[in-house]
């Protein structure tokens, strides 16, 4: 038995971690994260040059990775670096969907690697209903054999800077049916697209998108009409695996920051880490983070087992949600006032960690899903 990452992936992880530590300063990240665009174009380009995107993309589409193991290693490093650039929605989930498309849609992946396209995934329509099949946005045929799309997408990440929108639509069935979901990929400047964007607490921008009789060509449909669910389901599961790995990277970083603080901050003449009350809390964090890592490993190695995937993915997202909040809250408390400040890195890690529970289904959603699956 060997549950260690392969030497290549360990090198990839170490290289990225070192790069972020040296070149991706949290203060600069925060400035970009709370700007109009929500991230830094320049940092995005530098990281693209480094080959991070390729590591998320399969060789058939000019990448050199794209397996669950690659994705998990890369996103753990991205989490440690608190990277706000759109690797999740654009680099991973969008490319997984586009890889199931026609030649021109596959070419969008190449364009992304060339930095001349920036697609994003527009799926959610309800703030609190996390079911993957929740799609109401209507897709109706027009006389020329093309389509018109009308509906609303909510809290979409990085839509304001995107070149293309990958939109899930309903062509038949009821709003939560798995059958009857059709995926369309259109340029974001198409008439009838209205994007309203907000500042996101964890950095970046989130948008509500109104689609009003938006024209979609039949060549802009990904896969078959009405058969989109399986495509998005797998892509979202990749997204969950990635975001759980990101959370793991954040938790490891938070653990280091907190441990360092316990060893250096002195009160009553000794480092506060000498107090047993705090030692036990820190030890509990370590125990919980180990459990979180095991949940992610379990999801990674069973990702392509069709009987297991849904269950291990929900188990991982539940574990990350529950443990993530504990780690965020405890680490702030162990820091005292320092943990509350904008200037210190910890709070920014804690914000992202907590908000990860609001993406792709929260701990309650995945606990219920896990129960249903047994």
């Amino acid at each position: 038995m060997d549950l260690k990452p392969s030497p290549e992936r360990q090198i990839l992880f170490d290289t990225l971690t070192k790069y972020f530590e040296n070149e991706y300063k949290i203060a600069d990240r925060n400035t970009a994260a709370h700007s109009e665009l929500g991230y830094s174009k320049e940092a995005w380009e530098r990281m693209r040059d480094l080959g991070i995107l390729e590591s998320l993309i399969v060789p058939e589409l000019n990448g050199f990775g794209g397996t669950p193991l690659d994705i998990s290693a890369v996103f753990e490093a991205l989490g440690r670096g608190l990277v706000v650039e759109p690797f999740l929605e654009t680099g991973l989930v969008s490319t997984k969907i586009l890889s199931k498309g026609n030649e021109s849609q596959k070419k969008l992946v190449a364009d992304l690697l060339e930095n001349i396209a920036l697609p994003t995934f527009c799926h959610s329509e309800n703030d609190t209903d996390y079911r993957k099949s929740y799609v109401k946005t209507k897709l109706v045929p027009d006389k020329e054999g093309n389509f018109l799309v009308t509906g609303e997408k909510v809290m979409i990440k990085n839509a304001s800077g995107a070149s293309h929108l990958i939109i899930t639509c309903r062509s038949s069935g009821d709003y939560a049916d798995e059958k009857g979901i059709t995926i369309a990929c259109i340029p974001s400047n198409r008439s009838g697209v209205d994007i309203k964007s907000f500042s996101s607490i964890d950095g970046g921008r989130v948008s509500d998108i109104r689609l009003e009789n938006v024209a979609v060509l039949k060549t802009e449909i990904i896969g078959n009409d009405g058969k989109g669910f399986e495509i998005i389901s797998e892509a979202i599961d990749f997204g969950i695996l990635a975001i759980c790995s990101e959370a793991l990277g954040i938790m490891e970083k938070i653990k280091e920051l907190t441990l360092d603080y316990l060893k250096t901050r002195k009160q009553f003449g000794v480092p506060i880490g000498k107090f047993q009350a705090l030692q036990h809390r820190m030890a509990q964090l370590l125990v919980e983070i180990e459990q979180a890592r095991s949940a992610v490993v379990n999801a990674t190695i069973n990702f392509f087992d069709s009987n297991e995937r849904s269950s291990v993915i929900s188990a991982a997202k539940f574990s990350i949600g529950k443990i993530g909040m504990l780690v965020a809250e405890e680490s702030i408390q162990l820091h005292g006032g320092m943990g509350m400040t904008w200037e210190y890195d910890l709070g920014h890690y804690a914000k992202r960690l907590v908000l990860i529970d609001h993406e792709f289904g929260d701990e309650d959603f995945h606990l219920q899903k896990y129960i249903e699956l047994q």
């Binding site: 609190t128 209903d129 964007s197 006032g337 907590v354």
Partner: protein, 398 residues
């Protein structure tokens, strides 16, 4: 056992409600309900209205302009204010410094400073914590050295709430290094406009500006600004801290927030049914409500023993722990209940000049920011760990 209010207390409760009905500006209470800091002038306006009614300093003795409220009247007043979304009275002057001056200050100090607190001439802030002295407050290093007709103060304070608004500060300073650290501390009043004082903002993780650092370099302070005796400041500070920690139950505020959360959750759908009926959510909500009910009774039990002449001891520590944790639990569940909408952070949505897109429900504009900001509640006013130390020492004799 009787936990009901007397008839007179009930009348008072009604009087407070009527007053709030007539005098509370809805714009201001909307801000308060949504956790937005109100401006200095909004605070001052509210203080003025209360002062005209004689309620800015209700618990003060009548001779100083108060109403001689007992603990129950104070409780009723604070609860009604909390329930209606009234701004908190800025506590540093009327709630914290005033009791110290009344007990330990000179006649001149009382005559000079107390009326100015009531008429709004002074805005006080509190100079206790230092970068190296938080939980271990007695190790503080800011020095005051007597030179001719004044003290010369050098050092640094931190986490100073509303120092950006204040024109006065009361400080703990070191006047002696002899004996135990507690024995060399003095209690000093300082003018924030004195040469040598610099205030720098500390922005908190949610992006708001409430606390500050203050730097003192060769600041001259008149000798008459010493409160009580030199090197007895620790006694006064401990007296003040007991005052700071009472009234931390915030039962009415938490009740108001639970009510709002319940409404939010009944208007929100999860997988086709109302969120409030989702078993996992309902269980979380019910547990917080039960905790809050228990805290309400715990708080009343404490009040009733104080009313019957028992001194509040470590009970205020129990209440501080529970009050802060319950409020944090509510903020946490509110954030959760908003689902993906919790990503939004647009505190300006409650300002007049906001021209961004509409946010629905509006609470989402600040819910996550508030959740993170309120992590401070288990840290400030003596961290909850320090409260547990106090309980261990005073109640358990460990």
């Amino acid at each position: 056992m009787d936990l009901n209010f007397t008839e007179k207390q009930q009348e008072f409760q009604k009087e407070v409600r009527d007053f709030l009905d007539k005098n509370l500006d809805t714009k201001v209470s909307e801000k308060v309900r949504n956790g937005i800091s109100i401006s200095k002038s909004e605070s001052e306006d509210w203080h003025k209205k209360l002062n005209n009614k004689g309620w800015l300093a209700g618990p003060w003795p009548e001779e100083f302009g108060g109403q001689d409220w007992g603990v129950v009247e104070k409780f009723i007043f604070e609860e009604e204010c909390g329930a209606s979304g009234a701004p908190r009275i800025v506590p540093f002057g009327v709630g914290m410094l005033a009791p110290v001056l009344m007990k330990f200050g000179s006649d001149e100090q009382r005559k000079h400073w107390l009326p100015r607190m009531l008429n709004g001439e002074d805005w006080w802030c509190q100079g206790y914590s230092e970068p190296g002295s938080g939980s271990d407050l007695a190790s503080l290093k800011t020095t005051a050295v007597k030179e001719n007709d004044c003290y010369i103060v050098n050092g640094q304070k931190t986490w100073t709430t509303f120092a950006q608004h204040a024109n006065m500060i009361f400080c703990l300073v070191r006047t002696s290094n002899e004996g135990k650290p507690q024995e060399g501390i003095s209690f000093l009043l300082m003018d924030m406009n004195s040469p040598g004082i610099e205030v720098r903002p500390i922005i908190t993780l949610d992006g708001s500006h409430e606390v500050n650092e203050i730097f003192f370099s060769d600041v001259k302070v008149p000798l008459e600004n010493l409160v009580g005796e030199e090197n007895k400041g620790w006694t006064y500070a401990k007296y003040l801290l007991t005052h700071e920690r009472t009234g931390n139950a915030n039962v009415a505020i938490s009740k108001r927030k639970i009510k709002k959360l319940r409404r939010l959750a009944s208007e929100t759908k999860k997988n086709g049914t109302a969120l409030v009926n989702d078993p996992l959510f309902a269980s979380r909500l019910a547990q917080i409500e039960i905790n809050l009910q228990n805290l309400e009774i715990t708080n009343l039990r404490t009040l009733s023993s104080v009313e019957n002449g028992e001194a509040p001891g470590a009970e205020s520590s129990i209440i501080k722990i529970l009050g802060s944790e319950i409020e944090q639990d509510i903020d946490n569940l509110t954030r959760k209940s908003l689902g993906k909408r919790a990503f939004i952070n647009e505190p300006d949505a409650f300002s007049v000049g906001y021209n961004g897109p509409e946010i629905e429900p509006k609470a989402a504009a600040t819910a996550s920011g508030k959740y993170f900001n309120h992590r401070k509640k288990s840290i400030y006013a003596g961290s909850n760990e320090i409260q547990k130390n106090i309980i261990s020492k005073m109640m358990l004799n460990l």
